[in-house]
């Protein structure tokens, strides 16, 4: 042992920080934790479309969040006297990913190089590019047939460029260009394209593309399809088919055999650097790093007839019709305008009557060449005279078109074909860009006041305009008869409506919540929807024609001409704006919670992949740290003690000052002197609250489902629950099941100082049920005059400056609420259940804690441990 070590041994120890000081630190940490959760909730709210926000908002929110999370880790470091290196590392990883996104470099750690079409949804648009992703949604969400295939992702695109050093080459070339010399620009395009065509496709990407194609073709062969299995290879870039339609700017390769797929991939990528496409991007103000290109590989359909459908004609004098153009064989010559076609005008409303027909004599068609590519075939005069589409097919097309229009929130141009079996395939669908934009058109005149059936009633779930016939749904059977294109009117919201969601043009319900499951599906399908409208089912009758303007929350009698067209052509589709997409990408780094179970081995700092994970981890750590600190006797006078109650709450109490009787007996409810804790526990112990058994015979039917679910789902999980108390103060952390309650309250004779803060977060069931529980809690809190904020399943209630008596009453109620809701998410199967439970709870609470009788005691002790 050297001298230094000896001296170190004698170095005096730092005096311990008092518990009160550490507790203050802990409270500060919890406050910061709350601010983080609120900020995350705020940012999530902005995705709903109700708010106008800009890039500055995104930047400053991220900055605030980073700052808060950093300080939160620092808070913990003071509390647990640890450097928390792993947490800081996790923080740095997340922060880095956020900055990459903000600077336009996309972090693709969770994206694969290829994605099959059947796996695309609204979350994959950045990976797949908009064109292919729309096709994926048309197939997977809207349920229409789309040729099988897969997409090489935007991540693959960057991997390909980087593998060949092309990103730098392109950047250097475009920086060196003076912005004027057109000849030099064209030359640059030629050079870049040549480099791309000569480039190597990285092995993993080549293997993925060939593997996906192989899997697809083998499956078809097994199913007896002998082919030829030829592919269409198409671009699917960010922003393509969106606000700035790149229609016709990028290239497609048709009739490609399997062995030619990799070359076709390079052709399509090279297409992005053609003079016309590149110039278009420059004119539109796109940054070079904003070019992210997915490439779609889809099987070609041996089409009997093909064509286009426009849900609104470009000519505005043609009112409320759709236009179908079609030709026998493949559709390419029709798109290219080199062939004659039949034209049909169909009404936009069911039953889609044909308003006019114009047929041509076709003399040839284009078809697939089994050897690859396409060939022309001559038609006899008889063949050429026959219209190539039937009335039934026109109706089918019209429906598909309107479904897609509803989803894209734009008039749509779709390319389609029918195969030999008469199956309809949607090949492409993009929003139409009219010469005459709506902002140069006057809005349609508002209907007369007497035509307004409802106004300002209810909550908007999904904006949009819909016209159609009302269909009132009273029960599940009614759903079988739901007519295509009707507007669904119902008393309740129900997730079962998902079955007819793609048929419904609009939804109006008497009651229901915008956070419910049905609302989620309606948003997914973008069906204009209003919930909680009060008396829609009594005001609207089945068969009645109405126009629902879910943007302005009005229902008009009859079809209001032009309103939907105006809506579709004028509306800013906020989901397609750059800021919206950026925020959504960023939130993926921020809000998902992966660390849910503190008892699991995965509950570690190194597993934190979002700011929410870090926040959750620190909260857990801080509570247990506080308990450990409180056990160190040198820090304070009182040691923490277990409080024994009828229910298994597992509560440790730290008495800072006069919150508990000074006794050596085991602590029980009767020893609690802290006013807020005492009144809370009284509330929790009242009959029907913590206890889950029926207290009223009338309610036995649904209560039986309550208990049944518990027997299956009861998770006897109790965290380290902690109360820090004084005579007038309570700071309580409760982990019950997988969710958290925090209550912080001060109740004294001085009304001005009194406050109660209540926070609820989390749960283990799906988000719909958790949201239902959150809406239940919020509703109860509001009825008790709390100021309430709900974000997802985070509920915060605040009340202040209340008299002592009212404060006690509120704490009683909160005790009841904590007990009642501890596993309520499991039983809230529908939005109706929320109302039922609300009624039960309000009835129970009105009985008050004073009525706890012997039976109540007995039930309380005979309980599940939540």
């Amino acid at each position: 042992m050297n001298l230094l070590n000896v001296l170190a041994f004698w170095r005096p120890k730092k005096p311990p920080v008092s518990f009160t000081t550490l507790f203050r630190k802990f409270k500060g940490l919890i406050e910061r934790n709350n601010r983080i959760l609120e900020l995350m909730g705020d940012m999530g709210d902005k995705l709903g479309g109700e708010y106008v926000f800009d890039k500055q908002y995104i930047l400053s929110s991220c900055e605030q969040l980073e700052d808060l999370v950093f300080k939160l880790i620092s808070d913990l470091s003071v509390l647990n006297q640890d450097k928390n290196v792993e947490l800081f590392k996790a923080y740095e990883r997340i922060r880095h990913a956020i900055h990459e996104e903000l600077s336009g470099r996309h972090a693709f750690d969770q994206v694969s190089l290829t994605i099959p079409l059947e796996s695309l949804d609204q979350g994959t648009v950045d990976a797949a590019g908009s064109k292919l992703n729309n096709l994926g949604i048309i197939r997977n969400t809207l349920g229409h047939r789309v040729p099988d295939g897969f997409v090489a992702t935007t991540k693959a695109f960057f991997a390909f460029l980087d593998h060949n050093g092309l990103r730098r080459t392109i950047h250097e070339a475009v920086t060196a260009w003076d912005g004027k010399d057109e000849a030099a620009f064209d030359q640059m395009c030629v050079e870049i394209r040549e480099k791309i065509l000569k480039a190597d496709i990285p092995k993993p990407l080549a293997a993925d593309i060939m593997g996906e194609a192989d899997a697809l073709v083998s499956r078809l062969r097994r199913e007896g399809d002998k082919g030829p299995h030829l592919f269409a290879v198409r671009s699917s870039a960010w922003g393509e088919d969106e606000e700035s339609s790149f229609a016709g700017q990028y290239e497609s390769e048709l009739g490609i055999r399997q062995e030619g797929l990799l070359d076709a991939y390079k052709m399509v990528v090279a297409g992005a650097y053609s003079p016309q496409a590149w110039r278009y991007r420059i004119i539109k103000g796109f940054h070079e790093e904003e070019l992210a290109m997915g490439v779609g590989f889809q099987l070609m359909i041996a089409a009997e007839c093909s064509g286009t459908l426009q849900t609104y004609p470009a000519d505005p004098s043609q009112k409320e019709v759709m236009v179908v153009n079609c030709t026998p064989g493949l559709g390419a010559p029709l798109m290219g305008g080199v062939i004659k076609s039949d034209t049909f005008y169909i009404e936009r409303l069911a039953p889609f009557a044909v308003r006019s027909t114009h047929t041509e004599i076709k003399d040839q068609l284009l078809e697939l060449n089994p050897e690859g590519g396409t060939v022309w075939k001559n038609l006899s005069q008889d063949e050429g005279k026959t219209p190539c589409i039937s009335k039934e097919q026109l109706v089918q097309l019209a429906r598909a078109g309107l479904d897609i229009e509803s989803f894209l929130k734009r008039p749509v141009e779709a390319e389609w074909c029918y195969d030999a079996d008469g199956e309809l395939y949607i090949l492409q669908a993009r929003p139409i860009r009219f010469e005459l934009q709506a902002d140069t058109l006057p809005p349609p005149p508002a209907p007369d006041v007497e035509d307004t059936l409802m106004a300002g009633q209810g909550i908007i779930v999904q904006q949009g305009v819909a016209s159609g016939k009302v269909f009132v749904v009273e029960n599940d059977e009614d759903l079988h008869d739901f007519p295509y294109g009707a507007i669904l009117v119902s008393h309740f919201t129900s997730p079962r409506f998902s079955r007819i969601m793609s048929h419904a043009r609009g939804i109006i319900t008497d009651i229901g919540s915008p956070a419910g499951h049905m609302a989620t599906i309606a948003r997914e399908h973008r069906v204009p929807t209003i919930v909680n409208a009060g008396d829609a089912t009594t005001r609207l009758q089945t068969g009645e024609e109405i126009t629902l303007d879910a943007g302005n929350n009005v229902v008009y009698r009859g079809i209001v001409p032009g309103l939907r067209r105006y809506e579709l052509t004028s509306q800013c589709v906020f989901e397609e704006s750059y800021e919206y997409r950026l925020l959504r990408r960023l939130l993926k780094r921020i809000t998902p919670l992966h660390l849910v179970d503190p008892k699991s081995d995965d509950f570690r700092p190194s597993n934190c992949t979002t700011f929410h994970d870090i926040t959750r981890y620190i909260h857990e750590k801080a509570v247990s740290e506080l308990i450990q600190l409180s056990e160190r006797r040198e820090l304070h006078e009182t040691k923490p003690r277990r409080l024994n109650l009828h229910m298994s709450l597992g509560l440790t109490v730290i008495d800072v000052e006069d919150g508990m009787c000074k006794t050596d007996e085991d602590l029980e409810l009767k020893h609690v002197l802290s006013v807020p804790l005492k009144s809370l526990l009284d509330g929790m112990c009242q009959p029907g609250m913590w206890c889950t058994r029926p207290v009223s015979v009338d309610l036995s039917s649904f209560m039986s489902s309550f208990t049944r679910t518990f027997s299956v789902a009861a998770t006897s999980r109790i965290g380290r629950n902690l109360a820090v108390v004084s005579k007038e103060y309570l700071n309580l952390h409760l982990q019950l099941g997988y969710h958290y309650n925090i209550i912080d309250a001060f109740l004294s004779e001085s009304e001005n100082d009194n406050y109660i803060y209540f926070r609820f977060l989390g749960g283990v069931t799906d988000i719909e049920r958790r949201s239902r529980r959150a809406s239940f809690i919020a509703e109860v809190l509001e009825r008790f005059d709390f100021r309430v904020e709900v974000r997802g399943d985070l509920v915060v209630g605040r009340i202040k400056k209340i008299s002592l008596a009212r404060g006690i009453e509120k704490m009683n109620m909160l005790g009841g609420l904590v007990g009642y809701t501890r596993q309520l998410d499991v039983v809230l199967q529908s939005d109706e259940d929320v109302q039922d439970h609300l009624a039960v709870f309000m009835q129970q609470i009105s009985n008050g804690p004073g009525e706890q009788d012997e039976q109540g005691q007995r039930e309380s002790s005979n309980t599940y441990t939540g």
Binding site: Q56, A438, S570
Partner: protein, 144 residues
């Protein structure tokens, strides 16, 4: 103010295109005549040549800042209702905006319904002012 059948004219100035892009259709749909501009120099020129009933402006922009723009509008057209929108909302900037004659002050992000309401309040205020200016004549008649 406008004659009865004329639309209320709104000018929106914000250097973040997304703000104009979202506000324009919302106001058009509500029956307003809307112009949007992304740079304050053009907006400065525009208010010299045309009259607007309502101006919605951001505060912090490249070039002429929103405060100067606000001051200038009120000089040219004192009856124009100016609504200030800003992502850097502080009590001081709000106070200063009001001192310079802003009708309302909204912190970004805001709800579409909030800004539509603000414009409706401008209209209501002006209707009231109009009827008040008609008032004295009636009073004279009454007292005579």
């Amino acid at each position: 103010m406008n004659k009865d059948n004329e639309k209320v004219r709104i000018l929106i100035l914000d250097d973040e295109p997304i703000v104009c892009k979202r506000l324009k259709p919302a106001f058009q749909k509500a029956g307003y005549d809307v112009e949007t501009l992304n740079d304050s120099a053009s907006a400065m020129a525009r208010i010299e040549e045309a009259h607007f009933d309502v101006v919605i402006t951001d505060l912090k922009m490249e070039g002429v800042d929103g405060m100067r723009f606000l001051t200038r509008i009120k000089e040219i057209s004192p009856d124009t209702g100016v609504i200030v929108i800003t992502g850097f909302a502080t009590l001081d900037t709000a106070k200063e905006s009001f001192r310079k004659g802003a009708f309302d002050f909204l912190a970004k992000p805001f709800k579409l319904s909030e800004i539509l309401d603000a414009v409706k309040r401008v209209e209501a205020g002006r209707r009231q002012a109009d009827s008040a200016s008609d008032q004295p004549q009636d009073d004279t008649n009454g007292s005579a």
